[in-house]
């Protein structure tokens, strides 16, 4: 078993522990860059939200809170299953790991399905900027701007979800190929970090887009 672990230490590292710590650190730095990536959009959104509170409130009132909160629960659940997947990798339970990875991916697909349903509903409501946008009330161009940010940010988030599902597919394949053990499961942990991070982004998107128009 020890030989197996040693063979998994790449040549630039001295020990398996050094390798694991370095890879974890690299992943967290990457997530920090993602914070700044989404951060730019959050700042722009905040500036316009500050200037056009009524218009952005009016746009928010068009959100489907039921689907939005269902999606939040779905994504939090997927994060939970992902965390358990990492846990089962830690204890070396390969069957449970595979099962939880599949569950996580399925929840991710449910999320994307619900999201697409919402997009389709917005399309039918003529609330899709540049494709079909009509708004009769005041401040139409600012309401449109709300929807530009809505589609931009949730779209970018959905893209991250798609990438995440792709990553999990690879992890699943490697799990089934018996690549991971209690000694070496760093890729599972890395995928888990990414997946949970995407969940964090959604929690904020939910707060920004869905919750601001409920009392209007």
């Amino acid at each position: 078993m020890a030989d197996h672990a040693a063979s998994l230490v790449r040549e630039q590292f001295r020990t398996a522990e050094q390798q694991r710590e370095t890879e974890t650190l690299g992943m967290w730095i990457f997530l920090a860059t993602e914070v700044m990536f989404f951060g730019g959009l959050f700042v722009a959104f905040t500036v316009y939200r500050m200037y056009y509170p009524q218009a952005f409130g009016a746009g928010s009132a068009d959100m489907n809170i039921l689907l939005g909160s269902i999606n939040t629960v779905v994504l939090i659940t997927s994060s939970f299953t992902m965390a358990l997947a990492v846990h089962s990798a830690e204890v070396g339970n390969r069957r449970l790991l595979a099962f939880l990875l599949v569950a996580t991916m399925l929840l991710g697909c449910v999320f994307l399905g619900v999201k697409l349903t919402e997009y389709y509903q917005h399309y039918l409501d003529h609330k899709m900027p540049s494709v079909w946008f009509e708004y009769a009330g005041p401040n139409a161009s600012k309401v449109q701007m709300f929807f530009v940010f809505y589609f931009f940010m949730t779209g970018l988030h959905a893209l991250h979800m798609v990438v995440g599902i792709g990553v999990l597919l690879v992890i699943l394949a490697r799990t089934l190929a018996r690549s991971f053990s209690a000694e070496y499961y760093t890729p599972v942990a890395m995928a888990g970090l990414y997946w949970s991070f995407v969940d964090i982004i959604w929690v904020f998107l939910f707060a920004l887009f869905y919750l601001q128009g409920l009392h209007i």
Partner: protein
């Protein structure tokens, strides 16, 4: 084989807390809090984010350096947000168009 740092129980509690917070923030959204509705929603989202990062992502159990990295991401985002918003908030403090 190292013992996992976080027990399944902790994961379950974290999960339940996250679900509870989602319910609370949704219900609070119906209250007419004015400008505070955004503040409350973001504050609850931040708590949720901390729970996910701390437990699901094991951030609380990693080396201090990892926590510094995570904090740096947030701090730099706040730098950007604060200094940009400073411009927008102080516009018009001088009574001449465009100042």
């Amino acid at each position: 084989m190292a013992e996992p740092v976080i027990s399944t129980r902790s994961y379950v509690f974290t999960y339940l807390a996250l679900l509870a917070l989602t319910l609370i923030t949704t219900l609070l959204g119906y209250l007419p809090l004015g400008p505070f509705s955004m503040v409350v929603a973001i504050a609850i989202a931040a708590v949720q984010a901390c729970l996910i990062a701390g437990f699901f992502m094991q951030g609380l159990y990693e080396a201090a350096l990892v926590r510094v990295v995570a904090a740096a991401g947030v701090v730099w985002f706040l730098i950007m947000a604060t200094l940009i918003l400073t411009d927008y908030i102080t516009r018009g403090w001088l009574p001449f168009p465009g100042k």
